[in-house]
């Protein structure tokens, strides 16, 4: 009863029935139970931080994609679809698929063969302590910040839509994550992410299924959107991006292709340890590669449960949603409410509980991803090399367990900080571009060009971070600079991010190449297992064509091209 009272509050836009509450409480019980159950299997450092490296390709693949499917991702992109239309699907297609396939076929072999525990760990092996420390510290800061922002966003949505107490949402959800990650480490996080994957899909799939029945199919939905928003084009991916002013995002195809499709996407999918850690836990290289490709297939399908609900909101809602800045009034709904509003529209008792559980599961999978990645990077790349080098394995496992709890507490602190400075949420993407995009240039040059030197690894990374930061400051204090940074004054936030990411990557690559040419490279024998041409990749000769990653990657690439042509 106490929980039910906390769940209900004045002004809630949805009310949950007892069966909805049972579904939500059962979910919390199961994830905690899984954590406790798996604790007995995580006694060594390899088991706690890398899940024993024994995951099958399906478990690794579903976990890989689930860790990416956080609540901010689901609700944020449904909201963005209401604003910008199907252009947002670029986040799932050009902004993900090529990079995920590249990770599977080109980069994973190096990560996997060198047996590193993390991406900063690879930089240590390739470039030395300087590049590792810079990337580890920036990654740890970014992870905690993003985790706190996600947590706060989730709590705000739950407060607005369900009337849940904001402190209750933050503490119960995040402490649940802390307990199961603390108990079972990456193994527990991965098991729960697979569970969460099913819940997210089953809970959210109701909307497109019933919504498309209501609108009379895809053509009916498009007709309704055109009737509701005459003169606006919400239904094309590329054909409206020839000029900045011709589409609601203020985007140009060059920014989408090079900024989003190359810099941001490759930066995130190939070097953000949050997702890479999942497939590095696979039992062998082939499982890791196929798991990544399975992840790509489901990533390509996510628009069905995120973009289509946003489009359906444009088609069927009898009122217009407004920006956050105009929210807070009675009977006014904001863009961020698009997905929960569609859940409420089609889901009766039971299904509504399932939908809310899907949103909570999304939050938890995203947060667990952040916490486990933070824990591993902190323990292996900051604590061990910089603070206590010679401790026992038991000590590091213990550090990992307590660090999970500490990471959650710091994230909660960040969430409360965001509460007082809500504009930080706007900067979430900006922070990401600061730290992750330059990593891609450093890692890929290190993998593919043996001439890249340790000094170049450090200075290239630093140059990329500083370039991104400087460009952001330039536009912040002189808005006219947008015309130079993003080539147009029409560019909106997302579009500006794409170009800043592109410049950051260009600066990173240029500095890395120039410094490499004037400094001394590592001896070749130190590059074995780390660089193309110096690494023996296991042969796939013993496998049939249908067992080889390249075959499935080609099939996914074909489907990706077909989708882009279909919605051109």
């Amino acid at each position: 009863m106490a929980a039910a009272c906390l769940f209900r509050a004045a002004g809630a836009r949805l009310s949950l029935s007892p069966v909805d509450l049972i579904i939500i409480v059962l979910y919390f019980g199961l994830v905690l139970g899984l954590g406790v159950y798996l604790r007995r299997f995580t006694t060594t450092a390899e088991e706690f931080f890398m899940a024993g490296r024994e995951m099958t390709m399906w478990v690794a693949g579903l976990s890989f994609i689930s860790a990416n499917l956080g609540s901010l991702e689901m609700m944020g992109y449904a909201a963005a679809t209401y604003q910008y239309g199907i252009l947002v699907a670029h986040a799932y297609w050009i902004g993900a698929i090529p990079a995920i396939l590249f990770l599977a076929l080109v980069m994973l072999p190096f990560y996997y063969i060198c047996k590193t525990h993390s991406v900063p760990g690879y930089l240590k092996l390739r470039f030395g302590e300087g590049a590792r420390s810079l990337s580890a510290i920036s990654f740890a800061v970014m992870t905690i910040l993003m985790s706190g922002i996600n947590m706060y966003s989730m709590a705000v949505i739950m407060k607005v839509i369900l009337g849940w107490n904001i402190h209750f949402s933050i503490w119960v959800s995040s402490m649940t994550v802390a307990l199961y990650v603390m108990a079972g480490g990456l193994l527990s996080a991965i098991f729960n992410e697979v569970l969460q994957f099913f819940l997210i899909w089953i809970g959210c799939l109701v909307i497109p299924v019933v919504g498309l029945i209501e609108t009379g199919g895809w053509a009916g939905m498009v007709n309704r959107i055109q009737t509701n928003f005459p003169g606006q084009d919400f239904m094309h991916l590329w054909s409206t991006t020839g000029t900045f002013s011709n589409n609601p995002m203020g985007a140009h195809w060059t920014g989408i292709l090079f900024g989003w499709g190359l810099a941001i996407s490759f930066g995130y999918w190939t070097t953000d340890f949050l997702v890479v850690q999942r497939v590095m836990a696979a039992k062998d290289l082939r499982s890791a590669q196929l798991g990544t490709i399975i992840g790509a297939v489901f990533k390509m399908m996510v628009p069905l449960i995120v973009i289509v609900p946003g489009l359906l909101a444009l088609a069927v809602l009898p009122y217009r949603l407004v920006p956050e800045s105009q929210g807070g009034l009675a009977n006014v709904h904001t863009y961020n409410e698009a997905l929960p509003l569609m859940l409420a529209r089609y889901c009766g008792p039971g299904l509504l509980g399932l939908g809310v559980t899907a949103l909570v599961a999304g939050f938890m999978s995203g947060m667990a991803g952040n916490v486990t990645a933070f824990t591993t990077v902190w323990t292996y790349d900051i604590y061990k090399p910089l603070i206590w080098k010679e401790a026992s394995e038991t000590h590091y496992v213990s550090m990992g367990r307590w660090c999970s709890l500490l990471g959650v507490f710091v994230s909660i602190g960040t969430a409360y900080l965001v509460m007082n400075f809500s504009s930080i949420i706007v900067y979430a993407q900006v922070i990401f571009v600061f730290f992750i995009v330059p990593m891609f240039g450093t890692v890929i040059l290190g993998m593919l060009w043996k001439r890249t030197t340790p000094a170049a690894g450090f200075w290239g990374l630093l140059a990329g971070i500083l370039t991104s930061f400087a460009l952001w400051l330039w536009v912040k204090f002189n808005p006219d600079a947008l015309s130079y940074v993003a080539f147009s004054g029409y560019a909106k936030d997302m579009s500006e991010n794409m170009y800043r990411a592109m410049w950051s990557l260009v600066a990173n690559v240029l500095v890395t190449v120039v410094v490499s040419l004037v400094t001394k490279p590592k001896p070749e024998h130190e590059l074995e297992g780390l660089v193309y041409g110096m690494t023996e990749i296991p042969s796939e000769g013993g496998f049939s064509i249908f067992q080889r990653p390249i075959t499935w990657a080609a099939a996914v690439a074909l489907a990706f091209v077909a989708l882009n042509i279909l919605f051109w």
């Binding site: 098991f191 697979v194 569970l195 019933v210 029945i213 089609y346 009766g348 299904l351 399932l354």
Partner: protein, 72 residues
Amino acid sequence: MEKHAVSVWFFIGALLTIYGVLILVSGIYGLFVPLNHTVAMSHLHIGIWWGSGMLLIGVGYIVRFRPRRKNL
């Protein structure tokens, strides 16, 4: 994965089964007792279909991935 006594797929099956039953029963209850709030397309009784589907998938997973003695 082999060394874990109970497969993750079994847990998923168990959860889907329980949720399927709850949603199915709730959907059947909704046939006889009108809802407090309006749900679009309520004539489809989507809860019954969705709950049945989840129940079927859940039972399938439980049977396929049930803990076996050799794994214990």
